[in-house]
């Protein structure tokens, strides 16, 4: 396949960026999207140009590093996959592909397609944990039976990989799906209920501080989320927060 790529290039956080057009040829449909990017970079290095910087690591859809906005959608046109799991067979010979970084005030660009998502880390540091010591002096794991449905829902919330697609897809650059997944994961378990109020208040406060937009329930996040994190989590967070702030 031969493709035209329109890629956002930006030297560093302070530089002005622009879209640069590249051509790549001999792309196999079996390649992953990032392998196609590798081909482009090899080509650029050969020509003595600087390769395109982009975040990636595990290349199996679990680390949450890769985060490209492809043709106007986070992680591209496929549903339920990260950029690294997107394969070129999804595109046609001769296609033009626009590749941009995830954009949000809370995700400042570092270089080219690499953005700083440390705002997500700070939201979790604000309360995304259960305050239990790691000493090992805990009670037996089976001493608290947990309803299977709740354990499963908690697990599904916890499968969030923190890639930021929810923010990227949202017209308001809101981080509510992410934050609510983190809130839900603990709120659904008896271990986490104890400090649920404090947790949700602190995490939402931090989320607001980071400059994310507000949720207007468009549902774009749920659809673009590579892990299918449900909007139910946002509702749960709304509930938890309301409950906590009324106390």
């Amino acid at each position: 396949m031969n493709l035209t790529l329109k890629i956002w290039r930006q030297k560093n956080a302070n530089a002005k960026g622009k879209v640069v057009t590249y051509q790549v040829s001999d792309i196999s449909p079996d390649m992953s999207f990032l392998e196609m990017m590798d081909v482009l970079n090899e080509q650029l290095i050969e020509k003595g140009d600087e390769p395109v910087a982009f975040d990636h690591d595990c290349r199996e859809g679990i680390c949450g590093s890769c985060n490209l906005q492809i043709n106007g959608e986070p992680h591209g046109p496929d549903r339920g996959v990260t950029t690294c799991q997107l394969h070129m067979r999804r595109f046609k010979d001769g296609d033009t592909i626009v590749i941009e970084p995830f954009r949000a005030k809370a995700f400042p660009i570092i270089k080219d397609l690499v953005v700083d998502r440390s705002s997500f880390d700070r939201i979790q540091q604000a309360g995304g944990y259960i305050s239990v010591n790691t000493s090992g002096n805990t009670q037996d794991a089976n001493s608290i039976p947990i309803e299977k449905d709740n354990a499963d829902m908690s697990f599904y919330a916890a499968t969030c990989i923190g890639c930021g697609a929810c923010v990227a897809a949202c017209k308001n650059a809101s981080a509510m799906l992410f934050t609510s997944a983190k809130v839900s994961q603990f709120a659904l378990l008896p271990q986490g209920e104890v400090e649920a109020d404090r947790r949700v208040l602190q995490m939402v406060e931090q989320m607001d501080k980071e400059g994310f937009g507000n949720c207007t329930n468009t549902g774009a996040c749920e659809i673009e989320c590579p892990k299918g994190i449900s909007l139910e989590n946002i509702a749960r967070m709304n509930r938890e927060y309301l409950k906590a702030s009324l106390k």
Binding site: L34, E35, I62, I110, Q124, K148, Q191
Partner: protein, 667 residues
Amino acid sequence: MGTFESNTPKGPLAEKWTNHKNNINLVNPANKRNIDVIVVGTGLAGGSAAATLAELGYNVKTFCYQDSPRRAHSIAAQGGINAAKNYQGDGDSIYRLFYDTIKGGDYRSREENVYRLAEVSGNIIDQCVAQGVPFAREYGGLLDNRSFGGVLVSRTFYAKGQTGQQLLLGAYSAMNRQINRGKIKAYNRHEMLDIVKVDGKARGIIARNLVTGELERHSAHAVVIASGGYGNVFFLSTNAMGSNVTASWKIHKKGAYFANPCFTQIHPTCIPVSGDHQSKLTLMSESLRNDGRIWVPKKKEDAEAIRAGKKKPTELSEEERDYYLERRYPAFGNLVPRDVASRAAKERCDAGFGVNKTGEAVYLDFSSAIMRYGKEAATTQKIDNPSDAKIKELGKEVVEAKYGNLFQMYEKIVDQNPYETPMMIYPAVHYTMGGVWVDYNLQTTIPGCYAIGEANFSDHGANRLGASALMQGLADGYFVLPYTIGNYLADDIRTGAISTDTPEFEAAEKEVRERIEKLVNNKGTKSVDHFHKLLGKIMWNKVGMARNEQGLKEAISEIKELREEFWKDVRVPGSADEMNAELEKAGRVADFLELGELFAKDALHRNESCGGHFREEYQTEEGEALRDDENFMYVAAWEYTGNPSEAILHKEELNYENIEVKTRSYK
């Protein structure tokens, strides 16, 4: 301390760890506030260690090259974590876990370490549940288990196919709690490029800020290396793209011995290579072998027809299939340990029975599992005389609930539906049992420098059992290192803050800077990946699943040549004072090019086959590994002398007092 002594405690095996904990020095809480610890790597081992050390009161600095600690490659572990809880009442015990691990490791691991691992394993599960890790549960609300290769009990705890993710998020949340308290300072997008020794002790590191390119000096009273394994020396592996040996290799060059580098695990169930463009390989969890049956066609003509696309696997009848693992190993069947399963796959493919275009793939078939589960479901749902289609439908639902995400992953990559046609799998490099040599306290031969998790060599011998890596990482981080490091730090309570304004830091930084400048100013003609791919080819072909003397000798000289060429002809675009992914890769590949040589040298010296190390010269008539306990029952710890091929061998003899050393048999 800091010598080549295993420092294992005296006394009966079962009491060693308790006695040891009772007798080592402690640091009082007030003094801990004045002690700094650096942790390099934030996966399961590093993350859990950092959280626990901070909780104990030490000031911790963590370093990771990813943009967040949560992205460390532990997150990709799929199947589960072992623990001797015996919740299933199937006769599991600490001793059995210990025994299985030693046997699985082909009697090349240290008895005391492994026993301790088994001893604390149960505690890990308690700890993780308390932290809110959502393990799979049964309808009664209690934890569920499944089985993994090489064992006869169900002791694996899991969270669908994302156990590593859930455990890492648990460790990361524990870290977050400490970051929020100010006890951990997380340096993300930072890479350790050297260790700094003062008076022979580890006192800090030089790290590069990967965003600005700045070199930073960080001092501490102890340095913990938790940077994972070095499987990426093969270029293609299931490791993350950024996984590297640099931290381990740097400390090796500064005096830490490197143990058993040739013990590498080739995982039997990975998605086969599809072409030259391939950048990494994807694992299909071992848990699939609980239900999947591995086979190739019985007749070569069928294999050829399938390769040519003239026949479909589903067209072959049961009689035309060779379930070779079930045939060769009736007791363990499809659940033999990884090294055995991998070699068996290679043997069939080499004999011409491979089933994909390149002839390097075997089938992993779920059709009988689907039918079995379907029948079960039909019975519980009280469906009388269900049709085959109905059974299949019900069965698929069960299989989807168990392995849905893995099946989806497979379908995305291969573009085939594994519910309808068998998966194709082939072995790939997955884990490295070898690593930095450590004593019982997890201390390397550099005083004050510790290595934990996959980065060290300690617990898995020549082959690791499934679901044991997560166990070891968390055991080291939560329950072992935080105690043993106190024994060392107790002598440091009067040291006070360590200045980075010293000749030692100066010299280390200079060395790092010169190397970076050399790479950036080299202006060669070939990209870093070019060299990495060539190295990977040499490693896979000559130091891979089967090795022989001649191949290894060739590998050693080829790697040396390649290394020289790399330094002559590598091209690193961009500059050193900015974000520069090529520069990062170049530094890592340069280290792989040295490690690869030591790797081959280690494989060459070990004239036996054991676990993941298979020397063609040393096999039984049936093609099983032939150990040489008389001459090789030791840990090979290599000392760096300036050139990998001239490394000096130190032997730590292994004594098995509590276990009878036998030929490993899974028949």
